[in-house]
């Protein structure tokens, strides 16, 4: 294969895999915004806690990985319920107060993280090592697996929101909370569930991304910027939009870097965001 074409093909492959990782991280954020209309700035820190959870339970305590996932899932669901009850419920509908509350929560968790987890980078050994090669395009197995998990979580979330009674209730609240309450839907309970599932998605994303990246308590802050970008480009609250935007951002960043250099590609992603928002102010699949 011509070197240039090979580079683009490799860039495209890296972009798709990276894009799926972005989607994985942004899914919980889009769910919480979609149902509760809360811009959860603490999402990155929950992602960090999920990753750290894998480090401490799987690496330090040497529990089996499946048990580790169960622990992370249960704890993150509980944390979501607690945060919804303690912070989000009383502030629902007050956009600015919610932003301040979630920023505060994010700072508290991150600061406690530096104290509790220390300053040295941590690492989770790869569950799957090796490279898969397709026509000279090299793909790390661990990323392929994480991408697969990401795809499964997208499908599960889609089924939850669009194919279950709970999902129907979630969408009803999103549409018009007052009417939903009049129809007998326990909005508080459904909102708490949405928040818990959003937290669990963030923590699971952290758990599956942990072997790919190195971990420190600041990693959530880095992830949140890209997650926001993706849910804005995709259309706030749209699961399909998040998937599309995640892939688009990953590919633009990666192929852009091959063609123009990494520095220019970083800017290119933001140019793309501006263009999308000018053409479709509500995002790719968002509702105006």
């Amino acid at each position: 294969m011509d070197l240039y074409l090979h580079l683009i093909a490799q860039g495209l492959a890296i972009g798709v895999l990276t894009g799926i990782l972005y989607v994985l991280i942004a899914l919980g954020l889009t769910l919480i915004y979609g149902i509760l209309h809360i811009v959860n700035f603490a999402h990155g820190e929950i992602y960090m806690l999920g990753a750290m959870g894998v480090f401490y339970v799987y690496v330090v305590l040497k529990w089996p990985f499946a048990a580790t996932l169960v622990v992370i899932l249960v704890l993150s669901l509980l944390l979501g319920l607690v945060v919804e009850r303690a912070f989000f419920r009383s502030l629902r509908g007050q956009w600015l107060q919610l932003v301040v509350a979630s920023v505060g929560l994010s700072l508290i968790i991150q600061s406690l993280g530096w104290i509790a987890f220390g300053i040295q980078e941590k690492n989770v050994p790869s569950f799957f090592t090796g490279i898969v090669s397709f026509g000279g395009v090299r793909l790390p197995t661990e990323r392929l697996i994480a991408a697969g998990v990401g795809a499964v979580l997208v499908v599960l979330l889609y089924l939850l929101v669009y194919r279950t009674k709970v999902g129907l209730a979630m969408r009803a609240i999103e549409e018009d909370e007052e009417t939903a309450r009049m129809l007998g839907i326990n909005a508080d309970r459904v909102a708490a569930l949405a928040c818990a599932v959003g937290f669990a998605l963030a923590a699971l994303a952290g758990a599956f991304v942990a072997p790919i990246y190195s971990l420190n308590p600041g990693m959530g802050g880095e992830a949140i910027l890209m997650s926001f970008l993706i849910i804005i480009v995709g259309g706030l609250g749209s699961i399909t939009g998040t998937v599309l935007a995640g892939l688009l951002v990953g590919v633009v960043q990666s192929v852009g870097a091959v063609l123009l250099g990494a520095e220019a590609a970083y800017g290119l992603v933001f140019v793309m965001m501006i263009v999308v928002l000018v053409v479709r102010p509500a995002g790719l699949l968002g509702r105006a």
């Binding site: 990276t18 040295q120 990246y213 880095e222 870097a257 520095e263 590609a265």
Partner: protein, 392 residues
Amino acid sequence: MRRPLLAVTVLLALLVLSAGAPELAYAQKSFKVGAIVPVSGPAAAFGLGCQRGLELAAEDVGVFTVAGEKYKLEVVTYDTVYAPDKTVAAINRAVYNDNVKYGVIIGAGVHPPILPIIRETGFLDFAFAAAGKQITNPENPTAFRIMASSDQLYQTYAVAIAEKLGGKRIAFLGPNDELGKNDAKAIKAEVEKLKAKGVSFVGDEYYERGARDFGPALLRLIAQKPDIIDTDGSPTGSIALIAKQARELGYTGYFVNSTAVLEAKAISDIAGKAGDNIIALRIWANPPTKLYTELAERHQKKWGEAAPGTLWETYGAARWLVDTIVKAGTFDTKKVAEALANSSYPNHPFGPASWGGEKTYGIKRQIVIPIPAAILKNGKWEPFDVKSGKFE
């Protein structure tokens, strides 16, 4: 009967305490040194290392006398989050609110906006920053760089490393900030010196600090078939991911890391065998002094983890500063700066230290200390025997 007795006892205790308290409070004054460093955010590890270095120095300095008065070193921390605007706010608070005149400030990127404040107030800045002339020049006589500068590292080692490895094609991947841009220029200038020997600079790429995906940038560089990729001051987490992702893309050459201080275990944990053949400057494969070993052990005992790389130079600088102030008999920063520039210090954790850089920067404000080189093999640093050039 019991109650009056209790009351008398409490009264007596209060009297004793109130009589003793002023004596204790005025036994020594506080000499405040600012740790104007990131202690939160992605660069917190650097800042906490400096803060801890100062705290260990404060413990070791104890009480010292200046012009007949007793003082104790007090560390005051100002979180900069490694952001220029927050650093400006931090130094303003330190100087104008808390009357702090000395401090360690981290980051080449945060220095440009604070240099006018340093010049105006005479704040004595121990700059824990790479890069070069932007900080160290005759206009900033109270700014002392306490770590090796980029110019120093590249001038002394770039050519020597390329020659030792037989590398002909050299690429650069660094952060897209002041440091990365400056260091790319520095390495290009050094590679130029080897042009006649067939060595060439084949490409430079930059990443956003905190990035975790380097694949796209690496792809472009690896296509140029480099033998050596210089990763500038990429910190431990970044270079480990760079090495891991570069090997995944088929790169088999060497990495050189100039200005960061890397942790072997962390790199090895993250990158595994992919971390082999990272050559790092400022890393001691074997402890250079007894003090170095002692500090490492104390840090491990006190904070329960390996000492971060920014600890040593901060500790050394703080001890050197107090020594100089005691000898100079004043806290006047301009007088202390003069005395400091003309002094040397044999007890630095890295070995004998002095100030140099007059030829390169026009002023002696660059620390000159032994600079080691090490190569990572099987998760451990091994001495990398390369003869360094001279820095003036």
